[in-house]
Symmetry: C2
Subunit: 367 residues, 2 copies
């Protein structure tokens, strides 16, 4: 078998209309796992089930020799050990993280990348120091604009060898719930979630929550690195595009009944059933969730659970008397900023932010 060099790190592309998922997309799908939807039953996603997206390889970082450098446009560059990071005031935040590419594989035509359907989400209790407290140790200059967050993960993307790095506006970085986290659900970070320390930016898509954090660099201009250019909404490849930032609203149903192995369709007995799920938005609190049991012809408002954790998903329930037959359920979330999930997928070349409504097919048997 020969391999042509241009296939080794190809430019981004959109799949041909009749092109199924490729072997390379499938390899990404095997590595970068979604949260199984039955895990929507839990407030906090059980360890190992939280979604995971790693651009390159997961680095093995030695905690004893790990240092976090804070430098650039600052009065006093510092280097923190893990113990020093842990000595800063400790803060825990429950956060729903979602991949910006969630929903990509449902787009037509399909942007070729990590082929998420709808489960690229998860919720955890993250504990760490505030990024604001870390930055305060170094004292950013008055003309600071962005912070550049760089991880130990290193690889090649679209022909460019790079450390994974993202710029974040300083004012966002100083928000009180933005963490340099060293614990997930009360235990040290698992390797795949950024051991020994990572950023967590609540309300933003996951690309900004840099894992395996190695440095924070303060700059006096908007950072224009590879990942900040990659995560943009564009119709054409040569467009400047709009940066991907906060999480658009989305609701997911915990699929009712029992599963079919191959199709993941659901079987249910006719009669009353309570449909359950979770909804979230990074722009404003979720204030309404609607459920349709007839593929969008009619919608019913769900009952919302408590909203105690601003940055975590909110539970919802709705009663349904399931009639025999084949049904297609849909669900959609609204938030307090007026955003609502669209009926048609919002297409862009990168396949980002496709928060169109989740369909769930249910075969209801006579009781």
């Amino acid at each position: 078998m020969t391999v042509s060099p241009e296939r080794v790190s190809p430019p981004g592309r959109v799949a041909d209309p009749a092109e199924g998922i490729t072997a390379e997309e499938l390899r990404l799908a095997g590595r970068n796992h979604a949260m199984p939807l039955e895990a929507l039953r839990d407030d906090v996603t059980p360890p190992g089930l939280h979604y995971l997206l790693t651009h390159y390889d997961m680095p093995a970082v030695d905690a004893a020799s790990w240092r976090l450098g804070v430098s650039g446009k600052v009065a006093e560059p510092v280097e923190l050990t893990l113990d020093e990071l842990r000595s800063l005031p400790r803060h825990t935040v429950r956060v729903t993280l979602e991949c910006a590419g969630n929903g990509r594989a449902a787009l037509t035509p399909r942007p070729v990348s990590q082929p998420w359907l709808d489960g690229a989400v998860g919720t955890a209790d993250w504990t760490g120091a505030r990024l604001a407290d870390v930055l305060a140790r170094a004292v950013p200059d008055p003309d600071a604009v962005d912070v550049v967050l760089t991880g130990h993960d290193h690889g090649v993307e679209r022909g460019v060898e790079q450390d994974y790095a993202r710029g974040l506006p300083l004012e966002e970085a100083l928000a009180p719930d933005v963490l340099v986290a060293y614990e997930m659900n009360g235990a040290p970070l698992p390797v795949q979630h950024g051991f020994p320390a990572r950023v967590v930016v609540p309300g933003w898509y996951g690309m900004t929550s840099v894992k395996w954090l190695r440095s924070v660099t303060v700059v006096d201009h908007p950072f224009d690195g590879f990942q900040n250019r990659a995560y943009r909404l564009r119709q054409d490849a040569d467009e400047e595009g709009v940066p991907v930032t906060r999480i658009e609203p989305r609701a997911l149903l915990e699929p009712p009944g029992v599963a079919e192995f191959a199709t993941r369709a659901r079987f249910l007995s006719a009669g009353p059933v309570v449909l359950r799920g979770r909804a979230w938005s990074g722009w404003a609190p979720v204030d309404r969730v609607e459920v349709s049991c007839d593929d969008g012809a009619t919608w019913t408002d769900a009952d919302l659970g408590p909203a105690e954790h601003r940055w975590a998903w909110r539970s919802f329930t709705v009663a349904w008397v399931a009639p025999p037959g084949l049904h297609r359920l849909r669900v959609r979330a609204h938030d307090a900023s007026g955003r609502v999930q669209p009926d048609l997928p919002p297409w862009n070349r990168g396949g980002f932010v496709n928060n169109t409504c989740q369909p769930v097919v249910v075969q209801v048997r006579p009781a």
Copy 2:
């Protein structure tokens, strides 16, 4: 969108020659995650990275009310609480588990099911009671033939609603390393690995290591349930076929260098490099691993690491002086029973046991 009923639980099929991975296979790939190959660096797979295959939904089982029933052809049927199970002699075994479908998606034509490439594997330290000690509590009849292991996982497959259940010959069930495990790597089982207790049958493909174990039923005939009929090697759908049992030999390289995001190809600088990996077999200890750096034209014997854990993978290393250019590495394992990985995939309709050699594409840059 209409959904035709025959699509809800279709019979098994083989993909058309030009048919890419389907949306349904992709949904399975997102749920049932592979082990990222960089985790081959670890003797024991870090929590959350072990491969995972669940036929239906992961059930949420309450440990306090959980009971393990042992009945059927026995002198004294018993029901054990989790505390009673834990009071039996405690035994820990390091085991490499692999899915019988590992390699399925690399077959041509492709059997349509969970589309594994090569990472459906993982190694853990499992702790529990010996299944032999559990059976001894009930005293199997002298004419006992099989034990039927049934889980709490329940769903629909090929049109049949069922609890997940597997028969295992009694003499295999009595082997001293077959466990009813309640700990994985020193902690209670994660929900996705069968909380609160599961079977672990070292050396066998994973389908026999029933998770969320609810009952052990002793029978006086070979059990012929759905899963025992499903996991068979067949060329045609109407063949009786040969049962899938023990794990065929396989070696995997930890891909060297750094990864390209989209293709997972590897970049490496020219010069000396140590290639590393792991190899295993359920039939007999691995006693030879060969590595080819020229796509199979020539092969070099690797140095094998210690063989302290019979049921776990064995490490290997081989030195390579990487010349500039594009190379395709391959690796193959032999075991003491004379089995060796084949050059061509052993095709069957279920897509089981494809242990053909792993290819790793490496782009070597001038030093």
